[in-house]
Amino acid sequence: MSDGENTKRGRPSRERHADDMIEQKPSSERRKSSAALDEARLRQQAIGVRLRQMFDQVVNEDVPEEFLEILRRADSRSSEKG
């Protein structure tokens, strides 16, 4: 479990079987770059979440009565016309 976490972060545990040791360098390099990619992706997702949050904050505001009033006036104006 904790070993899995370490691997994800690109810091493989030092205690490994001999078989693993042979491959350790290239695979740790690979893990490092894939961890960096994951992190970049996570950060972009985080910005995305925050961006929507910022936009939704305004979306969730109460619509000022003025908007509906203007539309009502336009509506009665157009029904008067025809």
């Binding site: 950060r43 979440v49 925050r50 979306v59 336009a74």
Partner: protein, 200 residues
């Protein structure tokens, strides 16, 4: 054109359906206007103008097509035609945008959003707009391209440049607020995103 031939009763029900949909879009128009103008009062003026333009042009709208994209396009055109009308005004708009993107209007607003607003204000307007339409407005690249009147590929590259630039601003030294160490904004964003994703 075709509307003139329609019986009055059908035109009225069309108007009703159009109006119902338009009313539902008002919050989104306000949000988009806020990202263009910055200043909330000017943004509401813009959103109202766009709403009225949409209402007046309702005969040219095909019911069943994407009204959100259509009204966003009207709002955006309105914004840029007003800007073109006066160079002086465009200067003021830019200043207002920078000022209010930075300022917290709502004292209850999460502080970290302020950091994002400041980062956004540092992006070129066309990148900011593309990122907001796709990243916050929920539009597909194709729809955003239609709204902005440019090619789909242009929108894609603007969005990806905006994402990279924003990331760099929030992460790097370009952003500094209240003497907080660089990267602080990004850390708080990450922490927040983590919290949000576990809530959902």
């Amino acid at each position: 054109m075709a509307g003139a031939q329609q019986p009055a009763s059908s035109r009225e029900s069309d108007d009703e359906a159009f109006k119902r949909e338009l009313v539902q879009l008002i919050p989104h128009l306000r949000a988009f206007a806020r990202t263009l103008c910055g200043d909330p009062a000017a943004a509401d003026d813009l959103a109202q103008d766009a709403m009225m333009k949409a209402w007046d042009a309702r005969a040219s709208f095909q019911m069943g097509t994407n009204m959100k994209a259509w009204t966003f396009m009207i709002l955006r055109n309105q914004f840029y035609s007003e800007k073109r009308r006066s160079w002086r005004q465009s200067q003021l708009d830019q200043e207002a945008a920078e000022r209010t993107l930075v300022a917290v209007d709502d004292p209850e607003a999460p502080v970290a959003l302020d950091e994002l607003r400041q980062g956004l204000s540092m992006l070129p307007p066309e990148q900011r707009e593309a990122l907001i339409l796709v990243g916050a407005g929920g539009f597909a690249y194709e729809e955003a391209a239609e709204i902005c009147g440019c090619a789909v590929g242009t929108v894609k590259s603007r969005v990806s440049r905006a994402r990279r630039a924003l990331h760099a601003i929030l992460e790097g030294g370009a952003y500094d607020r209240d003497g907080e160490p660089a990267g602080e904004a990004m850390r708080s964003i990450l922490a927040d995103a983590e919290r949000l994703s576990t809530v959902r």
